[in-house]
């Protein structure tokens, strides 16, 4: 009995894999534009997906850069970067313009 149930579940898994792969292959042929982005929005919603809202390439793109020159948002303890063409080498750059965390005020 146990073996029969296991065989049934295994068959169901394989059927699901086959069906899902077929749907994905069909979706991948419905490309939009030249970069071949899949038009799977309807499928994604049906699958219960929620957009995280965090896939912001611009946010991550500047990570790893050591030079804030030209990135804006210069900040230093006194007059910021006012009147300066570049904050490179001046110290105190914050590319997002964020204030100094209050933890330092403790």
């Amino acid at each position: 009995m146990k073996n029969q149930i296991n065989a049934l579940l295994l068959s169901a898994a394989l059927a699901g894999l086959t069906g899902g792969t077929t749907v994905a292959a069909h979706a991948s042929t419905n490309v939009s534009g030249q970069n071949g982005v899949r038009t799977t929005s309807a499928s994604l919603l049906k699958a219960g997906l929620r957009y995280s809202g965090s896939a912001d390439t611009a946010k991550h793109s500047c990570k790893g850069k050591n030079d804030c020159k030209g990135q804006g948002g210069c900040k230093s303890s006194d007059n910021g970067c006012k009147g300066k063409n570049s904050c490179k080498g001046k110290g105190g750059c914050a590319t997002d313009g964020s204030p100094m965390p209050h933890a330092f005020l403790a």
Binding site: L10, G16, L44, L49, A55, F104
Partner: protein, 294 residues
Amino acid sequence: MNLEAIQRAMAAAVLQPLTANEGMRAKTVDGRAMAEVAASFIAPNSRLNPFERLEIYNRQYWLRVLGSLAEDFPALRAVVGAARFDALAVAYLTEHPSRSFTLRNLGSKLVDWLKAHPEFAGRRHALAMDVARIEWAFVESFDSAERAPLTPAQIAALDGSSRLGLQPHLHLMVLHYAADELVLDLHKREKRLTSEAGVEHEEEERAPVNLPKVRRRATWLAAHRVDFSVYYRRLAREEFLTLEALRQARSLGEAIDAGFAESAIPERRRAACVQEWFGTWAELGWICAADGEA
């Protein structure tokens, strides 16, 4: 001083947290005068003395890493509060300074660190842990590798003893709270507070966030990437356990067994569930060949 000694002295100074006035501390961790340390390997110029020249790098480092961490964990910041998050970030980054060429990896140890330091999360520690898990999973899913999903020919060759792989960008989480909706709401809030010019509304941003009531109940979640965007999806407990078993390189038959361990799903409904789950996973491209197999 040789080069290694200079590099170590520089790193030690730069990695030391700033003072309340955003300046470099007057003393090193081991109690020496920072001005003397700076003068030992930095020459003054016409405008700045050695201390001031070194201070530039100390400030630059901390402003950058704190800003980056806050950017990756906006919901955690809202949950614990801005002031507490600032203290948390300084303590975490003091213990785990940037070690990578990319700031993307800065928060890689935050979840484990927060687990060991509940005092930094306050009374919402369990919720904060869940939120941090979700936000780190979003970072991971954003740029983890993507492998080719199983082909029909590969599927046709499967049996109960086969092992399967999962997409590297698929991240599975088990949470104490249904915190996914909260994270989504807080990310929307974060975007609203950031103007198109990238200037944050500081006062509103630091104001306490009135969080909606979040129910404490076990929640299983998957974060992954589709067409260069990160998505998440709630999973049934059995679905999560099956995927987790597949990730642990258990066979297909064993994974299905593991998924239904202590399950409340009646046996007559299980085949339909399994077919639906595997169908969805295949459609989303989650299932690949096992590691080391083509």
